[in-house]
């Protein structure tokens, strides 16, 4: 079963920049532990880090006049910033959550099943 794992953290980007080498190392270790945990239970399909929200552009829904505007910033203005994502393939939601516990503790991690379009 495939899952999207979304990692968000309060002021994630400023925190990363302010962190020192030891804190960065600690984060690297958590990512590695997560990758190992996923591989033990299934497979890692991919993952990437995202650029900071100020580089995002959002195409807004059309207004009454049918005009769609592009605004700076992410889809949802929240304190928590989406910093990266993984795509993993493991048996079930519980297993996915188990692996997700390995990620840095300051993160809020959303694990959401991906709808299977393969006939099966």
């Amino acid at each position: 079963m495939k899952f999207l794992v979304l990692m968000a953290e309060k002021d994630s980007f400023a925190r990363w920049e302010a962190a020192d080498a030891a804190e960065h190392e600690a984060a690297f270790a958590r990512f590695e532990a997560f990758a190992r945990a996923v591989e033990e239970r299934g497979s890692m399909l991919g993952g990437d880090a995202l650029a900071s929200p100020d580089q995002a552009r959002t195409l807004r829904p059309a207004d009454d006049a049918g005009v769609r505007s592009v605004v700076a910033g992410p889809y949802a203005e929240t304190v928590e910033q989406l910093g990266g994502f993984f795509l993993i393939d493991v048996a079930d939601l519980e297993t996915a959550l188990e692996a997700a516990r390995e990620l840095p503790e300051s993160y809020s991690v959303e694990v959401r099943p991906i709808i299977d379009m393969e006939p099966g």
Partner: protein
């Protein structure tokens, strides 16, 4: 030169060394700094040059490096890092966090890293030009007369070889040995510019100038208290390069090579000669060492008012001392030239006997001496041998002219 070009020229090595100290990775530091320079080229013309251009580049490079680290972490891609002491890494981190002045100067570590014993001198020279001096890969390729992709691949291999190396200052007793390697690397780069082995240029003053700048940087970043002999060698190397470089305008006339005796001495850069002589002054009576003796020979030429007034006996004596230290065919060849000037072509030829040296220089000197003795048939054979091995267009033209003159004689 734009402000950006100036900052890159003067601060590249310093900024890169600081980034390497903080992140422990050459590739990351270099890419980040290159990105920052690229961003500066894009934004400064419109936004104006920042108050502290070097600090701006450092901040931009640091952000870029952190972004990439985060991306690599998510992708769980581990890259080997250089061994950097925790204290230095923290110091570098503090400097960057204050985003102000670049206070720590770790260029010496960077210079020593590039002159790593695991690299060939050629690779070390190219890497030093790129990393310490900030010469672009395209320009390094041009300087070494190879296509850019070839040089890029060569630089990448050299960087990979250094992964896991130590970004450190060797213990005081090992420092002179490493400095000697840097000197050789710098002199190799200098020679590549001063007497290109191949191609159309008689001389590439820009490479020679970069190598000179490297030795000047090395002198400025080395700690005080180097053993006397090593200090003498370093000063002598800078003097030797300055003396040779001071003749650049006289060495070429209408695209052709002009040899020392035929050079217009009015075209020599006399301020550079003076600087070199001043560097050598304290060492004139120092115990002999290789660069010192070569510099003293070069100085003899520089202070002679005319070729006829050159103190050839003293030059022969310097070469004799040099032979005692390093018995190499190149030294023997140069000594034979001096002997010929001091005691005539017959003595010069005798001094050449037993010298074996690949390349065109040995047969070219032999041809010249044979021609002076009126032994034209032998001279022509020797010129042909020299021409067959000479890859530099300007030198070939010179040899062809000389050969034609033996036909007339």
């Amino acid at each position: 030169m734009t402000v950006l070009e100036e900052v890159v020229r003067d601060d590249w090595g310093r900024l890169l060394a600081l980034l390497v100290a903080r992140f422990g990775r050459l590739d990351l530091a270099e890419d980040a700094l290159a990105d920052a320079v690229e961003a500066a080229a894009r934004t400064w013309p419109a936004d104006g040059v920042p108050a502290n251009p070097a600090a701006w580049l450092l901040t931009a490079a640091r952000r870029r490096a952190l972004d990439r680290l985060r991306a690599e972490a998510v992708a769980a891609r581990r890259v080997p890092v250089l061994a950097v002491e925790a204290e230095l890494a923290q110091e570098a981190q503090r400097t960057m966090a204050d985003s102000g002045e670049v206070l720590v100067d770790e260029r010496l570590r960077l210079v020593l890293l590039c002159a790593h014993p695991s690299l060939s001198r050629e690779a070390a020279a190219a890497l030093t030009l790129r990393l310490v001096m900030g010469v672009t890969t395209e320009d390094v390729a041009r300087l070494f007369l190879v296509p850019t992709p070839t040089m890029a691949a060569r630089l990448t291999r050299a960087r990979k070889r250094l992964a896991g190396a130590r970004f450190e200052l060797p213990p005081p007793d090992a420092l002179p040995g490493r400095v000697t390697f840097v000197e050789d690397v710098a002199y190799l780069a200098f020679t590549a510019g001063y007497a290109p082995g191949s191609g159309a240029d008689v001389l590439r003053a820009d490479v020679a100038g970069e190598a000179l700048r490297l030795v000047a940087v090395l002198r400025s970043v080395l700690p005080a208290g180097l053993p006397e002999r090593d200090q003498a060698e370093l000063d002598a190397l800078l003097a030797l390069m300055l003396l040779q470089h001071s003749r650049r305008d006289a060495r070429v006339r209408d695209g052709a090579l002009v040899l020392l005796p035929d050079q217009d001495r009015g075209l020599w850069r006399h301020d550079e000669v003076a600087e070199a002589v001043e560097l050598l002054q304290p060492w004139v009576h120092a115990p002999p060492s290789p660069y010192l003796l070569q510099a003293l020979v070069a100085a003899e030429h520089a202070i002679a008012p005319s070729p006829g007034e050159t103190a050839w006996e003293r030059i022969v004596q310097r070469y004799d001392e040099l032979l005692d230290l390093v018995d190499s065919p190149v030294v023997r060849l140069n000594r034979a030239v001096a002997v010929a000037e001091a005691s005539g072509p017959q003595a010069g030829l005798a001094a050449l006997s037993g010298v074996a040296l690949p390349g065109h220089r040995l047969p070219a000197v032999r041809a010249e001496l044979l021609a002076r003795l009126g032994r034209y048939d032998e001279a022509r054979t020797a010129y042909d041998a020299a021409l067959a091995m000479c890859g530099n267009d300007a030198e070939r033209a010179h040899l062809l002219t000389r050969r034609a003159e033996t036909d007339a004689g």
